[in-house]
């Protein structure tokens, strides 16, 4: 994957993928923000860069937007190398976390600014601004000043302002970070609708896994300047590539295990089925909703520590010699919830036991 391209390969343009990052390294002084990133984003997809703060996701976005330059490597958009171009010459527009609306201009003039810079004739630009404002549901707000809008409305103006330029790629830098949960969920739906309407490639940076899961076609989970896992939300959730990914996305239970074929032996000596994939000392990961609890003794024995009713499911914490931390199970059927102190046995179908590299 990371082999050095030959001269012939370098000379020929790469595949016309939406965006392609080739062995991109970014260092700030002695600190390395990105360690040789290879990434292909397809034309028209909703792509999420997900990870904790400092993982390199915002650096990746800024590299595509042109606000920082790569230390090594190349960036291509639709077959054109762009990492040497200044921001205002790239076919890319950005929605900033702070919106960065221009407070001295009306909403209409904010959205028209980019077209003015491109010398788009007045008649055409007015039409495009109207169309863009309609897309985000703010056609009535053109004459307002940004300070007269709510946070959610300001966010929509920022989206309209970026999309009016019909960029090949729209970059979104935690655009919903400053909004409350209800509004965030509503705007998530709106953003996916807008994405469907315009068909532009969206690259969305967030540290919120739910946001990424609910919107993205594909997610790149980043950690420490690397992509740990790249895949659809379902793949990333069901078959995480590493313990970090499993831990970062959703809830998970971890067991130390020794794997032989599709059987894992846990530290308490019990043997359970697993998905396999590697052998020897490993970490076995099971999602809470994959765990079934039965009364009475079984292969993995435990005792109920706590049960919590959480609306659509009951969360049960079980103490077991097979794992260091209490194992968490999420039960959908509210009828058969064990009581605190009950002796139970844990099980799951072999396909739900994901085998990962052990820590360290």
């Amino acid at each position: 994957m990371t082999t050095v391209p030959t001269l012939a390969e370098q000379a020929s343009p790469p595949t016309a993928a939406g965006i392609e990052l080739r062995s991109v390294v970014k260092r700030y002084g002695t600190q390395t923000a990105l360690r040789g990133l290879d990434l292909e984003i397809r034309d028209g997809e909703f792509f999420c860069l997900l990870g904790p703060s400092g993982c390199g996701k915002t650096t990746t976005l800024n590299l595509i937007g042109g606000f920082v330059g790569p230390t090594e490597g190349e960036i291509w958009i639709r077959g054109r190398r762009i990492d040497t171009l200044p921001p205002h010459k790239r076919p890319v527009n950005t929605v900033f976390q702070s919106y960065a609306l221009f407070p001295h201009m009306t909403v209409f003039e904010n959205v028209r600014f980019g077209l003015k810079m491109d010398h788009v004739p007045r008649d055409e630009s007015v039409g495009r601004v109207r169309e863009s404002l309609r897309l985000v549901g703010l056609e009535e707000f053109g004459e307002r000043m940004p300070s007269q809008l709510s946070g959610g409305q300001q966010q929509r103006v920022a989206v309209a302002r970026a999309l009016v330029k019909r960029p090949a790629v729209l970059l979104l830098d935690e655009p919903l970070g400053a909004l409350d949960l209800k509004l965030r969920q509503r705007l998530q739906i709106e953003l996916t609708q807008i994405h469907r309407d315009v068909g532009t490639t969206f690259v969305y940076v967030t540290h919120d896994q739910e946001e990424a899961m609910s919107m993205a076609d594909r997610i790149a989970v980043m950690n420490d300047g690397r992509i740990e896992h790249l895949g659809s939300p379902e793949e990333v959730y069901r078959r995480p590539a590493s313990r970090f990914v499993a831990d970062f996305i959703g809830d998970s239970n971890f067991f130390d295990a020794t794997v032989t074929g599709d059987v894992a032996e846990l530290t308490d000596g019990s043997r359970v089925g697993c998905a396999g994939g590697r052998s020897g000392p490993s970490t076995l990961m099971v999602r809470p909703e994959a765990i079934t609890l039965a009364t009475g003794p079984g292969s993995i024995a435990g005792r109920v520590l706590q049960t919590s009713f959480l609306g659509s499911y009951v969360r049960v914490a079980v103490e077991t010699p097979a794992a260091e931390a209490p194992v968490v199970a999420a039960l959908r059927e509210l009828a058969n919830v064990p009581a605190v102190g009950d002796e139970v046995s844990l099980s799951w179908s072999p396909g739900d036991g994901i085998v990962l590299e052990p820590p360290g």
Binding site: H88, T94, S98, A100, L101, F113, M117, M145, R161, K165
Partner: protein
Amino acid sequence: MSAQADTAAARRSGRRRGARIGSGLASYAGFVPAIVLLGLCFLVPLGIIVCYSFWETIDYEVVHHWTFSNYTYFFSVSAYVSTMWATLWVAVVATALAIGLAFPFAYWLSRYVPQRLRVPLLVLVIVPFWTSYLLRVYSWLTILGDQGVLNRFLQWAGITNHPLGVFLYDRPAVILVLVYLYFPFGALTLYSSIDRFDWNQLRAAMDLGASPAQAIFRILVPQIKPGIITAIIFVFIPILGEYLTPQIVGGTGGVMIGNLIVNFFQEAEYTRGAAVSLLIAGFIVVLLLIFRKSLSAKEAYGA
């Protein structure tokens, strides 16, 4: 607007109280020290100057005889009128240069200098104020004069074998020293206004296709316009009244209107001096009235 409503309400309640005017006056008692101070130190002297400018000087005596002759005399002497135009010209050029230097400095300071280094740098800008104004102007003689640092360096470097007199005693020297003197006013005013700016807006502008220069002039400058106008006022108005700088480094070629006023007063032509002073004051009032309109733009977008 609310202030108008307040005064209207105050007027109405005042009428309702009717005879109790005394208590209405009492509510202004707190302003007495300010009114006395303003009256004694500002309004009374101004009134005296206004009167003087319409009186006559005969045999070094001020005669209380009302006339416009001081004003007509000033405009009848072409040397005075050309000095007035030269003063305006010098003030405009010096202000433009001082603000032109202060803007990049303030921009650099608030955008690129780390927070912990900003206060030391601002202190460095203010440090010259700790020395006397007179001393700071005189020190330029030791830089620009025949035996000054600049001439010695040029002779040492072999560029010339005798001191060059071109650096001193003309308008360029006056402008140079004025720019040096008034740069801090411009820099501090602009810095306090730029410091509140959200730099993401410049990134956004460039992201939308603006070149760096377009981003600065279309996004940053309109938003700090009140600060720029304040800086211009702080620099331009005092320069209009400057007389020490042209006197010390300006020679005969660098005379400004302030020197004319000093000369009139030294020759006991008090009434003519008063008239010229009021000409400058009147000009400044007109300028402020024009600027006040642009300053109210501040309210337009609730900055």
